[in-house]
Every structure is written in structure tokens, then in C-alpha cells.
């Protein structure tokens, strides 16, 4: 099945079986392996991508559902000059990354959250990240990183 969509700013055309999951398309065909496969049940959030700006689990999405959409994976956050995105910087500075497996999903959920709500409360951060599980850091540092990223992004706007 021929599918056309915009992936990380680039027009993309692929011919894949209709039963292929968006996750497998992204990892195995487009070779964007920053998107991780954790539980394959939509519970862990490590496969999170943004579809038209909203976070979704790519393991629960069939590839044909990308038709006509605009998707963002973690690879698109790095600036073209090689600098990290302020959310990525905040995660590193706050020690919110240990094994790193959940991090791409955490960062994309954070991006979507901060776009809707530039100064979220702790409860709003917990809700915004409730679809992403981390088994290492214990969340405190992740929440701090989101708060710090919010400040960085607010500063960048001014």
C-alpha cells in the first residue's frame, strides 16, 4: 500500500503492507531507531511519536493511518546546527536520563505538553506524561526536567 506523509519535515512515500505498524515502518523502513519498541501494547509510551503535533503510540497505529499526516520523531528535535533541543538539554542537566530507553517518548510527550501548556503544574506534568513509563529514574528528575525545559522555552520566546 502506497502511503504519503511528512516525516520530520520531509515528504515521504513508502510502499508497505497495510498491516505494518507505524512503529515498524519508522524503525525498519525509515531507519529512525530513536523511536523504541517497549511493550507493543500502548502501555509504556517508549514508541511515542507526534502525529500532527499530538503524541500517539506508534505501536498501536497501522502505517496506513499516517496517510496525509505530519509526523515528528525524536530525531527531528536536534537543531540543524547540531545543538540539542532545550527539552533534551533540560533532561541531561537534571539527570532525567539513565538507561535512556523511555527518553525519546518522554521528550516527545513533554514537547506536546509544553506546546499546549507552557507553564504546567506538577500535576499537569504527571498527567501529560502518564502514558510514558520510566523504570530507572523514579520520575522526580523527569518532572524537574520538564519544569526546567518550560523555563528554557519561555525564555526563548521572549
Amino acid at each position: 500500500m502506497l502511503i504519503e506523509f511528512i516525516c520530520n519535515g520531509k515528504e515521504t512515500r513508502v510502499d508497505v503492507p497495510a498491516e505494518m505498524r507505524a512503529l515498524d515502518l519508522i524503525r525498519n523502513e525509515l531507519l529512525l531507531t530513536g523511536t523504541k519498541c517497549g511493550c507493543s501494547k500502548g502501555e509504556c509510551g517508549s514508541c511515542t511519536i507526534l502525529v500532527d503535533g499530538d503524541p500517539v503510540c506508534s505501536c498501536l497505529l497501522l502505517a496506513p493511518k499516517l496517510q496525509g499526516k505530519e509526523i515528528t520523531t525524536i530525531e527531528y528535535l536536534e537543531r540543524t546546527n547540531g545543538e540539542l533541543h532545550p527539552i533534551q538539554q533540560a533532561f541531561i542537566e537534571e539527570g532525567a536520563v539513565q538507561c535512556g530507553f523511555c527518553t525519546p517518548g518522554m521528550i516527545l510527550s513533554t514537547k506536546a505538553l509544553l506546546k499546549k501548556n507552557s507553564a504546567p503544574t506538577v500535576i499537569e506534568i504527571e498527567e501529560g506524561l502518564s502514558g510514558n513509563i520510566c523504570r530507572c529514574t523514579g520520575y522526580t528528575k523527569i518532572i524537574k526536567a520538564v519544569q526546567s525545559a518550560a523555563l528554557k522555552l519561555q525564555g526563548a520566546e521572549k
Binding site: 498491516e19 500502548g42 503510540c57 496517510q67
Partner: protein, 283 residues
Amino acid sequence: MQYFLPATLKELLLVLDSESKSEIIAGGTDLIIIMEGSGERPEKLIDITNIEELIGIKEEEYGISIGAATTIAKIAANSSLPCCLRSGANSIGSPQIRNVGTVGGNICNASPCGDTLTPLICLNATLLLRSVNSQRLISVEQFFLGPKKTVLKKNEVLSEIRINKEYLSGASGFRMIGQRNGQVISQVNLAVWLQRSKESGLIEEIRIAAGSVAPTPVRIIEAEEMLCNTSPEPELIHRAALLVQASITPIDDVRSTAQYRQDVIIGLFGDIMTQLLKEPQSC
């Protein structure tokens, strides 16, 4: 596997009628898990999420119409919808699931624990079922036949959900118990809608529905009757809660035990009623 992405309702109904061995896919958040788990694929999938007529929340003369392919996230965020439906929607899955899952999918999946089902029963919603040469309106209460079983025929699609004006006013609430916050499936859920008289403050009409406590979501008419035409004090609310408890027939399963469900529903009911009588507007 063949994949159809019809762009109009008319096209969908024709495909649905002519393609045997086909299944409808909306958000797919349940279907993909089943497909991945079993390794089996339907021969043909018909995706209904590209059809604009099936998406969105519209005000109509009779009340509100919700397109079946409207996402759960859109339901949760829409302030013109009653509180019980918005909180039910908001308790489904995670942000990632709510951005993809649809209200029509939640209904047609007919899981006893679907978190929009009890709110829709309380709001006396009707469902519009369409096929290529007919359409029918059915009360949401009559839609469910058992776990994963509905009255929907092979060539029919649920196209919209209607809520009448009288149920948009009044107070409503929803509570569920799950094993953790976020991404969790209800062990028990409960929704209540009620209308009080402006003059006397008495409850003029009340509708109560519980989920995950029987093969389908159930209305609890005995408790509704007990509370109708009263201005309930805590003692009466507790007696009604005991009636709610007595009316349900939960089972032990992977998520919880029958006993736990019996116990916890009393607290859920008291909690919703207290809130609806004290601060009916807080959502």
C-alpha cells in the same frame, strides 16, 4: 490484508455492504493489540477515521451530536459536553491512547468496562446506526448484548451519538477505580446524572449506571427510584448505595475480585452523590 480508507460516509456504506469478511477500524487502539496478540489479520479493514462527517461535536436543535470517529481526547476537552462524559473520556488510557481512540470505538468494542458507556447511559444517549439503504436510532441501553457483543449488523456502522437537550442540563459525575492513575482499565466505574427542581431542590430525575460489574454496563433503576423526589441526606444516599451494591453482579477476573467491586462501589456512589449535591458544577 486489504485496507480501505473511504473519504465519505456514502462510500463507507457502499464498501461495508459490498465487502464481506471486512472489519471496521476506527482508532484501532484495541484492534491492533488483538491482531498483534493473535497474529491473525482480518482480510479487509475499513478505516472510518478519514470521513469528516463522522468527526466532531455539533450543537443541534435537539441537543448535541457526536460523530462516532471523534477522538476520546476531543470528548474530554469539550466544555459543552456533560461532566460525566468528559471525565469518563479522560479516564481512558493515556494521552497517547486518547489522541487516537474514538468514542464510537469505545462503544462498539462493547467492553463491560468502557469508560464512556456508563456516562452515555446516564445521559440517555441514542445511537444512529446506518447502512447503505437504511438507518435506525437505538437507545444506548439497548445496544449492548454482552461482552464484545452489540446489536450492530454486519453492514451497519455507528455514525453518531446523540444527547438530548434535557440531559445537557442537570448535574453529572463519573468515578472509576483502577490499579494506577493513567492508562488503566476500570475495575469498577460509575456514572450519575441528576436534575433537581429549581423551586424545591428535590431530585426530579436521576439516572445511575455502573460498568465492569456485569456482562454489559447496567442501569440501576431501583436506586434511581429510591432517590427520585427526595432531597437526599447522607443516610438515604448510603441506603441507595447499598441498593446499587445489591443490583450488580460482578465476577472475579484479571483486574479485580467480585468482592472488591462490591465493596468499592459503595464509596464511589457516595462520593459522586456528595459532589453532585454540593458542587454540581465542578468538573
